[in-house]
């Protein structure tokens, strides 16, 4: 039997190119902002200029008189539920009596031109009684301070108590760490096209989102319509990184379309986008590690305070991710952790790549460096000495019962050569870049480490299943799923799965929409595992049906049949027919739901098997620092990542390099600056993002130890790259200047003052 794989087939494990690549480079790919309908109107949102204020009156009469304005909608115009939210439905569609953050929606208008919309928004008169905003998370714990929302000022409080609480280490290190508010800053701004049904009781929404079905549920509730009356179609998504998990303009655009009876297009500007989606939680984390003199962790104490902003979003889940990752990828048997997520009048925070683990990791990795120093041990050795492995118990009591190659991640990262000696080179590539402010002789080079553990999929008993359908017809596999393609390349993987399992070379991807079961969210590094698992299951079932058919037609036990290249082959005989021929004239279809193993809630002491699975990664950063101006250039990031199995090397390296760039942003430049609840830098002029000149040389190694629980043996790879790279860079800066730094992003004043 031949086992040769035909060259150039789009099978798993090869660098198959994106099916949408050509359209994207031509400019033909339709993003949600490129959608257009005949007779459409434009929609726009009126937002609060105040972080906290009572609304005394709203007068829309002048706006309605402007030529071209079709309607203005307020809170009382919402026919269904007045609020929405992923975990707790506490966010109003439109603020009615009170606004709780700067940028909160108050009204929406529809008009014939974006400029008419702007004039209409300016013509709406809102009378506010400005209130003093609650902006200090610590104050949220003070019961004497009035709640700013009927649900109170604390979203969730959870502790983890495990083992011996009395252990006092021979060595103790502690610190209080500040992590700034990061923006996802996807390039493709929020945009949607809502098309009302002829009956006026249904709507189709073309939307860039991470989770079509969850959006639909929340939208239908607010519209007061059954879910079947609301159909969502995925518009082309220009990046997501967590920011499209919550509702932004979905409900507003549908309301405007249903009210006017005309298609309505909405799209945010960059400034509005900063107010229109949730951000990464800023956090203050205190940690104390107790260890033996030779650096073995005995006990960790921690307190994490996360600012969730005005509405819940995913704060309770982000908090649990943070506290359950307190120990990082290290063995620890005793722990006392308190976690609190609070409500303030700051911008709402929710999902962003890394989801709580970024914050915890920054703290535990800075602690590991302090521990190394206190024990006189190398930063690599301290991490290897404490590295977790399969069979260890987490501080939640959950067993690490699958692949956990932490030590390999560290040693293989350490084996990557350091970059060349800093002498010479282009002055453009020094800290300060094109400003040419630095002289090579003043530059100091530093090296730092970060290692992390990240949970995959959703946690705490949530069944985030995924659905996919495969239809084999005349040798062509047609695949249907509701999995949001946000740029990560699931559409490529889908083709690879069908090609590998069914022996087809022609795969058609159907429209991504809500006309099939949910795929869950494109988040939590979960789609390769979950939607990959659903497609894998659907394709395998269809292959079985094909074997049954061929077996019946040729009098062969179907168990003897296999797919080899593009043929159905009798492994014990001579029959060999092309899949195209074998499937001719018939339609074989199966819809498959993939569920991961169940998880459980945490008890009052934070004990429970709350996570599905984990992935690990190590990062080593090399930086150049100008100590006089406090400027940093990240030279090289070396990394070895636990990926399970590489399904597409080109996609995988893209995820790793892209994640590293975002982690670099959080280390040295990206922070939403807030003053008394007011965002001071809602633009790409003032919120800085890594450019091509900031990109470090990335040297990456894949650690391939197939994950038995994962349908394709592959772990999710999206989040780990951006997690421990941030503390690695901050450690490298500390190393370069000989000064400890406990906050991120590192600002020039943190270095030179």
């Amino acid at each position: 039997m031949s086992t040769t794989i035909t060259a150039n087939r789009n099978t798993l494990g090869t660098s198959v190119l994106r099916p949408d690549g050509a359209a994207k480079v031509r400019g033909d790919f339709q993003f949600s902002s490129d959608e257009f309908a005949t007779n459409m109107l434009w929609g726009a949102t009126l937002r609060s200029p105040h972080p906290y204020a009572r609304i005394l009156s709203i007068d829309v009469s002048a706006a309605l008189k402007i030529n071209g304005v079709s309607c203005v909608l307020l809170a009382d115009d919402v026919p269904g539920k007045a609020t929405y939210g992923l975990i707790s439905s506490d966010q109003p569609v439109f603020a009615k009596d009170v606004v709780r953050y700067m940028g909160e929606p108050i009204a929406a208008v529809a008009a014939d031109h974006p400029e008419t919309c702007k004039r209409a928004l300016q013509a709406i008169v809102v009378e506010f009684e400005v209130l003093s905003p609650l902006v200090d998370p610590e104050q949220c714990l003070d019961d004497s301070i009035a709640p700013i929302h009927p649900d109170g000022n604390v979203f969730r409080r959870q502790r983890i108590v495990r083992g011996d609480q009395t252990i006092v280490g021979e060595v103790q290190v502690e610190g209080t760490y500040d992590i700034g508010m990061q923006d996802q800053a996807f390039l493709g701004l929020e945009a949607a096209l809502a098309i009302p049904g002829h009956d006026g009781r249904s709507v189709e929404l073309h939307i860039a989102t991470q989770w079509l079905h969850e959006d639909r549920k929340q939208i239908a509730d607010c519209l007061g319509l059954p879910e079947e009356a609301v159909q969502l179609v995925l518009g082309g998504v220009g990046g997501a990184f967590g920011a499209r998990e919550d509702i932004s303009l979905q409900v507003h655009s549908c309301l405007l379309a249903l009210r006017t009876g005309r298609p309505v297009k909405m799209q945010y500007s960059r400034e509005e986008s900063f107010f229109g989606h949730v951000h990464r939680h800023p956090a203050k984390i205190w940690m104390r590690h107790h260890a033996t003199r030779d650096g073995r962790i005995q006990r960790i104490e921690a307190r994490m305070l996360m600012d969730g902003g005005a509405y819940t979003s995913t704060s309770p889940a982000v908090l649990i991710n943070a506290i359950t990752h307190t120990q990082g990828p290290y063995v620890c048997e005793n722990a006392t952790v308190e976690g609190i997520a609070v409500r303030t009048n700051n911008p709402p925070c929710g999902a962003m790549r890394g989801f709580g683990v970024v914050q915890a990791c920054f703290a535990h990795e800075r602690q590991m460096d302090k521990l190394a120093k206190a024990c006189g041990i190398d930063p690599v050795d301290i991490r290897l000495r404490n590295a977790m492995s399969k069979g260890d118990l987490l501080i939640t009591g959950q067993p690490m019962d699958s692949v956990a190659p932490v030590a390999r991640c560290i040693t293989e990262t350490a084996a990557i050569p350091l970059p060349d000696d800093p002498e010479g080179g282009d002055p453009l590539l020094l800290p300060g870049g094109s400003g040419l402010t630095a002289e090579r002789r003043n530059i100091r080079r530093g090296v730092g480490w970060g290692v992390s553990m990240k949970n995959l999929m959703y946690s705490e008993g949530f069944d985030d299943y995924s659905t996919a359908r495969c239809t084999l017809r005349d040798g062509v596999a047609h695949l249907k799923f509701a999995t949001s393609e946000v740029g990560q390349g699931f559409v490529t993987l889908a083709i690879q799965i069908a090609t590998s399992i069914l022996g087809v070379d022609h795969v058609e991807l159907e429209q991504i929409d809500t006309r099939i079961g949910s795929a869950g969210s494109t988040s939590a590094s979960r789609q390769t595992w979950m939607s990959g698992g659903a497609l894998d299951g659907a394709c395998r079932m269809v292959r079985e049906m094909l074997f049954q058919k061929v077996g019946a037609e040729h009098g062969i036990d179907p168990l003897r049949l296999a797919i080899v290249d593009t043929d159905v082959v009798d492994t014990m005989g001579t029959l060999r027919i092309p899949v195209r021929e074998a499937s001719a004239g018939s339609t074989l279809a199966h819809t498959f739901e993939h569920h991961h193993r169940p998880t459980s809630d945490l008890d009052e002491n934070g004990q429970g098997n709350c996570h599905v699975a984990f992935a690990f990664v190590a990062h080593r950063a090399v930086v150049d620092v100008d100590p006089d101006l406090g400027l940093v250039k990240v030279i090289q990031i070396a990394t070895a990542q636990d990926v399970g199995r590489v399904l597409n090397p080109l996609s995988a390296i893209g995820q790793i390099e892209g994640g590293i760039a975002q982690g670099l942003g959080l280390a040295v430049m990206e922070e939403i600056v807030i003053d008394q609840g007011r965002v001071r830098n809602p633009s790409f002029t003032d919120y800085l993002l890594p450019t091509a000149l900031d990109a470090p040389d990335v040297e990456a190694v894949f650690i391939e130890e197939p994950e038995p629980m994962a349908p394709l043996g592959a772990k999710g790879i999206g989040e780990p790259p951006c997690i421990s790279v941030t503390p690695a860079i901050v450690a490298a800066i500390s190393n370069a200047i000989g000064k400890n730094i406990d906050r991120t992003p590192v600002r020039p004043q943190d270095i030179c003052l």
Partner: protein, 160 residues
Amino acid sequence: MSAEHYALQVNGTRHEVRDSWVGESLLYVLRERLGYYGTKGACEQGECGSCTVLMDGEAVCSCLVLAATAQGSEIVTVEGLAKDGELNEVQRAFVDKGAVQCGFCTPGLIVAITHLLDTDPNPSESKIKESISGNICRCTGYGRIFDAVQQAIEVRGMNR
């Protein structure tokens, strides 16, 4: 809205723009009036480069150009780069080298890099980085984009 009437020359085709508001940017008119949706808007401040087009052979941010002032200029958008349906070397390299993820920054980068290589067929590494530092990509971390530029340089060199 005041009615304005002017003409734009885009990818070799003359387009009449009627009944527009004079304050519209070139980005808006290209997209919403002329249907050249390949050009993207992501910051409206000339910071991100998503809206890069060529105007009389210079790479400009179309969000910062008033459309009416572009009369008489030759404008080239990403749609004007593929000749007879064939991707140009930069476009081909972006697909081959994994430089495309979400693809939103891609048209601007393709225009900027095509322009770079038209003016300097063999740019240094630092010149490449500086030339595209006005085009922000949030997905790739730029590594695959640098790879794509190298392929495009090599292929163009062979084809010369």
